[in-house]
Point group: C2
Chain length 232, copies 2
């Protein structure tokens, strides 16, 4: 067993990294698979480039703004729950006292300490609400700038990821030639990306890298097959 | 202010709904925008249908398997952290004691109760590790079947969502005619979807519905513009 790190370390820097992983993961995979699918069904790389560019625009906006919306929703949800907790602490004090005792019972404290700890926490309403938000509801106060940052990170990562599988089609005329280069380049990038992603999330990097690459290959293969099917 | 519900209610059923929202949100938006983008750049709906089908295959697999991988990663991460905590409780007892006291200090307990509560929790190692996992690290024990279920839910929701904007192109010959029907049908669906999604997440439904619809419209507009640009 390697030397245990402070856990806090791997939980801190992960906001931006999570965004990049989300954006790049789909950015590398979906435009890759779309282009692969079209390669089996159309005669010119021109159509593939247009479809790929349209997909990257669509995907980056949908995912980026999706991330923005998710961030905003998280904030709205947090604010409405804070209001509700203040209301409950004020008007349904007995129930909140019972819930707080339940919490202390659930972590294994004795009846005596449940009562004492609840009494101490309930002295200060703000502190009590903070406690309920975090440990009864499991909600952390969201960073107000997070939604915008998240949108940018996810959207740009999607574009960066999407240009990798698409770029070979800019330079060749035959879709199948483009596909060959795209497959090699993209599977390599997916492997490298999967490797680093796995290291961040604490998974075995070789295994994680292989998984990520196989998903990409499988998505591309399925898109190719399905497009062939509908081409006829 | 309306009557407060038990919070537990809106946190329980949300696993499946979260998956459906994730899948359908992108499923309605990305194939819609891709088809819209191509409508401005190609002459036949045939290409749009092939590209759309390829995109739905690619997107559903990438998102579904992405969900699977995320679930698996969460499990692996949880398991490795449990091991680490058991190791620390065994071999770095003083530090763990200090961390546990810190927790009780952070929620506002007096020095006396911090010591007593820590002593009680540390009596049982399994209970102590459970506590540290949940409240120091904020990790919940993941449902082992969750990864597979999540993959299915997200993938199928993406397909269901994606067929909505694409279906008009099956029935008309002119891309622009297809686009007109697709825009009306999809924006309507996005509005309805956004409405229910907002109700689940506790956002104002009309505002949420408008936001979701605008993201779709914006993504489709951008894809249309970008595809037009590259068409020339």
């Amino acid at each position: 067993m390697d030397i245990p790190l402070h856990h806090e370390e791997h939980l801190k820097s992960s906001d931006v990294l999570t965004d990049v992983v989300i954006g790049m993961s789909d950015g590398l995979t979906v435009p890759f698979a779309l282009a692969a699918g079209l390669s089996g069904a159309v005669d010119s790389t021109h159509i593939i480039v247009i479809a790929g560019i349209a997909e990257i625009a669509a995907g980056s906006i949908a995912m980026g703004l999706g991330g923005y919306l998710a961030g905003k929703t998280e904030q709205d949800h947090y604010n409405s729950e804070v209001k509700r907790e203040f209301y409950e602490v004020e008007n349904l004090r007995d129930r909140e006292i019972a819930e707080t005792k339940e919490f202390f019972a659930s972590i294994g404290l004795s009846k005596e300490l449940q009562d004492k700890a609840t009494e101490e926490i309930a002295k200060d309403k703000k502190q009590w609400v903070d406690f309920m938000m975090k440990y009864e509801l499991g909600l952390d106060r969201p960073d107000p700038k997070r939604a915008t940052k998240s949108a940018m990170n996810i959207g740009l990562s999607y574009i960066a990821g999407g240009l990798v599988p698409l770029s070979p089609y800019f330079f060749v005329h035959s879709p199948i030639d483009g596909l060959k280069i795209s497959v090699v380049v993209t599977l390599l990038c997916l492997f490298i990306f999967g490797f680093f992603k796995s290291r961040i999330t604490g998974v075995n990097p070789w295994q994680g890298a292989t998984r990520v690459m196989l998903i990409g290959a499988f998505a591309a293969g399925a898109a190719f097959g399905v497009a062939k099917l509908f081409e006829g």
